[in-house]
Structures are given as structure tokens and as C-alpha cells.
Symmetry: C2
Subunit: 335 residues, 2 copies
């Protein structure tokens, strides 16, 4: 699976900006891959890209039509089909982040075959994996972990990849979720892998590499989230991380989606993820804390929080969006 760029961003009839969250993430991190957007009547999302028809996009050299939008039930809208067929006819591949597979729609599948184009349903692994082994492999790896789901693990990983690249360090971002896969052009939705193969899929995703190469692996879930901790566990073992970054959102009152489930405290959370990591990499350490402080009330309280966390845990604590990740990358380069 290698999604070809440039992309044309299809927003369908998205109900609001949030419905196009995936598309926004792609444009934020890969603005130069995104040539234009295509919106149907009644679309209430806007990526700020040039409006382009399918034929304009094809003329501009677009390789893939990206469906980076959520519809009710995660399915393809009936009124999207003609656009998708036109894109295939114009020589584009289709890449979709929807729950249901675009490749399962007979008319789309047949058109793709007829025109020799590919369909990427990025939520669904398109290959099988071996069982993981935990055997040590060369290269260095960082994994973003979290106190909860949706606390900025992907953003943090991408910011670290960008900072490392700007410092001339040989590195790759390894995507484990749908938005990350569009941004990397490849990857594995690990939560969709059969559970016997979670660590194996992660070993495949972040393979042996040059000793000074860093894989920056996107995290998923949390070992302290009762719904998804199995995914996280396999990811931690498979990534074999030399370094963890703990991601955190300080205004949460409970685990995402579970009002009855309290958040772990940060020390427990770091310790839990490190204990798991040590199984396949005894040298794993936590090198910093990435805090999404966007919901905090004042600059002073957020600065105080970051300082308190840094002192309490003996490692840098930053908001990757507001402060950047340079202190985290300094800590990484010190390994």
C-alpha cells in the first residue's frame, strides 16, 4: 500500500468542519501534497484549498482522490458515487478513510478494475502479517503513548519527525491510524488487525533499519483505556521503542467515551507503559511529556502545569502546538 500523491480532497456533503477532521489533518501536515478540494452542494466543511473539478484536478496532475470525511454511519454517500467514478475514469486512485470499504461497492470496484486504478481503504489492512517475535532489531524507534485516546499522539509524532528532519536526522513517521496513513502515504490501521497479529503488524511497520535511523511510531489508545488497551499493548511490544513520549490532555475528567472510568495519574501511566516496553526493549525510557493545553484557561496556568510536570517527572514537558517539540527532540538526541 503506497498512496500516490498529489491528492485531491473530496469533502462530499460534510455536515461541519469536524466531519472533515481527517482531511484537515492531511492538509495541515502535507499541504504541498493537496492540490485542491471538491465539495458537493450542502457541504459545510472547507479546507481553504482551491476548488477543483475532477477534470481540473486530473489536468493538474492529481494521482489520488482522498475521501477524508466522515458520513453518517461511516458509509459512502449515494450522491458521492458519480464523483468517485469520474475520478477513476480520469486516472486517479481512490483512498478512503471510511469504516465501510469503498472497494466493496460493485460499481466502484468494477470501474477501478476497468481503468486500472487502485482503491485504498486505509482502515482495512490490505495484507496479512506474521505473529510478532519481539526479537531485537537494529534502528531506533520512538513511540507516542498516552493517558487516554485522542490526546495528541499523532500530532506529537509528526512534530517530532519534522523537527528531527530539520536537524538532518534520518527518520520516518510510521502511521498506525487512518489520518496518519494518508499523511505518510502508507501504514497499518493496527486497531483493524486481527488481535493475534498486533505486535507482528507493528514489527512489519517499523522494521530493522540503520543504527542511527529513527522510526517515529504513531501511538493508539492507552494501556489505561479499557476499550483499547490490547491494541496499545501489541503496539508497545511490536514497536520495541527506545523512547516513549507520554501525551496528555489535562482537562479530561474521565477516559474518552467512558464516564465511569477515571484517568490514570501521570507517574502510573509512564511506569505502566515503560514496564510493557521493557519486555522487548529493556533500555526503553520515557523522554518527555507532550501536553495538549489548548483547553486551559490562561497562559499562566498552562505554563505552571508544564513546569510542574517537568519537575515532578524529571523530563521536558511541552505543548507541541504552542511550544514546539525542540526540548523533546533534544532529549531524544541525547540517547
Amino acid at each position: 500500500m503506497q498512496i500516490r500523491h498529489p491528492y485531491h480532497m473530496f469533502l462530499g456533503d460534510a455536515a461541519d468542519q469536524l466531519a472533515a477532521k481527517t482531511a484537515h489533518g492531511i492538509v495541515h501536515w502535507r499541504r504541498d501534497w493537496c492540490l485542491g478540494q471538491l465539495r458537493l452542494p450542502d457541504c459545510h466543511a472547507d479546507l481553504g484549498l482551491p476548488e477543483m473539478s475532477i477534470s481540473d484536478a486530473a489536468a493538474a496532475g492529481v494521482r489520488t482522490l482522498v475521501i477524508g470525511v466522515a458520513n453518517r454511519g461511516g458509509v459512502v454517500g449515494e450522491n458521492w458515487i458519480s464523483t468517485i467514478l469520474a475520478a477513476l475514469e480520469a486516472g486517479m486512485d481512490i483512498a478512503s478513510g471510511l469504516h465501510t470499504r469503498v472497494a466493496d461497492i460493485p460499481v466502484v470496484r468494477d470501474a477501478a478494475q476497468a481503468h486500472g486504478q487502485q482503491i485504498f481503504d486505509v482502515r482495512h489492512p490490505d495484507r496479512s502479517f506474521e505473529v510478532g517475535t519481539g526479537a531485537r532489531r537494529a534502528g531506533k524507534r520512538l513511540l507516542a503513548v498516552g493517558t487516554d485516546c485522542s490526546v495528541g499522539k499523532m500530532y506529537t509524532a509528526l512534530a517530532i519527525e519534522k523537527e528531527l528532519t530539520s536537524r538532518g536526522v534520518n527518520c520516518d513517521f510510521r502511521a498506525t491510524g487512518q489520518t496518519g496513513i494518508f499523511i505518510a502515504g502508507e501504514g497499518v490501521s493496527v486497531d483493524a488487525v486481527v488481535s493475534d497479529f498486533i505486535s507482528g503488524a507493528t514489527e512489519w511497520l517499523a522494521p530493522e533499519n540503520a543504527p542511527d535511523h529513527w522510526d517515529i511510531v504513531e501511538g493508539q489508545g492507552s494501556l489505561f483505556h479499557p476499550s483499547y488497551a490490547g491494541v496499545t499493548m501489541g503496539l508497545v511490544h511490536g514497536a520495541q521503542p527506545d523512547a516513549l513520549v507520554l501525551c496528555h490532555e489535562p482537562t479530561r475528567t474521565h477516559m474518552r467515551g467512558l464516564p465511569h472510568q477515571p484517568l490514570p495519574d501521570i507517574a502510573t501511566c509512564i511506569e505502566g507503559h515503560l514496564n510493557a516496553a521493557h519486555l522487548t526493549n529493556p533500555g526503553a525510557r520515557c523522554i518527555g511529556i507532550a501536553v495538549n493545553t489548548s483547553a486551559m484557561e490562561s497562559e499562566q496556568t498552562r505554563k505552571e502545569l508544564l513546569k510542574r510536570l517537568a519537575v515532578a517527572h524529571g523530563m521536558p514537558a511541552v505543548d507541541p502546538v504552542l511550544d514546539g517539540v525542540a526540548p523533546l527532540v533534544d532529549a531524544l538526541e541525547a540517547i
Copy 2:
């Protein structure tokens, strides 16, 4: 999924007794469900059951032909098909523990449909699951965990179920692997569930129940096995266990299948599984250690080991096969 008994045990042309390991387990725990065996020429396994043809088995009231045998590659032998078709024609369901699905063989699928019979491919979940929530539910649950794979978790759970039943305690064995599913007649192969749904599938398998009811949940893998710990983690969270039993095989020199991977020490292993269990059941405790001492050299060394473990960890330590599980069930009833 509810596999109907009595069973007729089909051994095909099994290369040796080990190839019929699943069938042996079924006969051991559910002898009264197994009316006979059917072996092809060149079969080197023997369950000690009466030899019965398909028509004899049908006349005796068999409801299901069980394929509890491993073939090379986990596939159905070409020379098995006529027996399977005869069973369907005689009004039996088919239940298979093979890796590849019997229901995917067109001639078998068509025959099942024509005769109104069911095919159970027990390694493959036949339904989808919700994401787990970790919300507290009534009823009590025990989960067998282990220092490694294949250390007697299923045997221990079944022995505990049997002992509880003999004491008049309301309980159910909840199967999470193929042999267990044949023995229970139902269950979920959790390692074949999509990883997002491991804990949810386990919550479904061991649901809310009467306050004094015990679910005895079969364990899988180990939190300390780099290949399968994700499965174990979801199972621990979903089972929400009040009690854990740690299963152990003392002569292992490394984790099963991984010569480079050392075994965890028992205290670390108990602590790791308890820490995970406390996320969804803060009252979880480890009530005993089940040790497979069959490979130990003398009665004296095995007795000494069990005594040492009991003293060191402050809980009963028994070999379920040689000593029975009464001390474990005493500890369970004390909760």
C-alpha cells in the same frame, strides 16, 4: 453459536496423537458427549472411542461431526470431503477447529445449505462485537492467566469449573480458544477477533450474571509474551476478574516459540496481571498458582517447588492434574 452434542469425532488421517490434541481434550472433558470416532486409513491417532460410520453415528443420535484434528497447513484434506458430505446428508452439523474455514469450501457450503445443517468454524468468530466499556457488571469472574502460552490455563479453568459444580456453586466455563469452544459448545476465539474488539468480545462472552454466579474464563497467552500480550490485555480488561489464577510450567527455559525471550519471574508476572486487572476491577486478587509439574524429575522436587511457591507468594500452589484444584477453589470461595 451453540454446537449441538452428542459429537462424532472425525480424526481423518491424523499423523500422530499430537495431531488430534484438540479431539483428546474434548474427550477428556466431555466424554459423555462423544459417541464415537471415525478414522480414515493411515490414521495414527486413537481416542479410544467406539469406531462408528456416519450412518451408525446418525442412528445413535449424533448431532455434530467434530473435526478436532490438525492437518498440514490447517486445511481440510481432499480425502475428508466425502465423509463431511455424508455427515451433512445424515443430518449432522459440522464443527471444525482448522485454520481455514470449512464453510469456504463451495461443495461443503452448498451441501450444508441443501440439508439445512450448520457449519461452525470455531477459530473464526461468527458475529461482530461492540467496543468494550469496562463498566462494572454483576456476577463474579475468575480468569486463568499464565507465565507463558500453553501452561495449562484451559485445563486449570475446566478443573475449577468441575470442582465448583461438585460443590453446588452456580458457574460456567467461558471458552476463548478452539478446544475450549468444543468443550463448552460455545465461546469466542479471542485471538481471531479484530483488535479493537478484544475486551468487548470478552465482555460479551462473560456477561452480567447473578451476584453469586462464577464465570470461569479460559485465558490466552501472557502479558509477558511479545507475540500475544495484546490479546491477553484485552482479555484481562474484558473479563473484569475478581480472581486470577496464575498458571506456570517450571521447566521452560524461554517463552514458547521465542528462544531469545526469557520467562518472567512469578512475582513480576502476578503483579503485572493484577495491575492490568485492577483497571476494570480494583478488587481483583490472585488466589493461587497452578503448576504443570509433569516434566519434573521426581515427586520430591515437585512437592518442594509447590511448597516454596505457596510460601513465597502466600497462596495455594498445586498441580491441577496431580493434586486437584480443591485448594484453589477453597481460596475462591473465601472471596
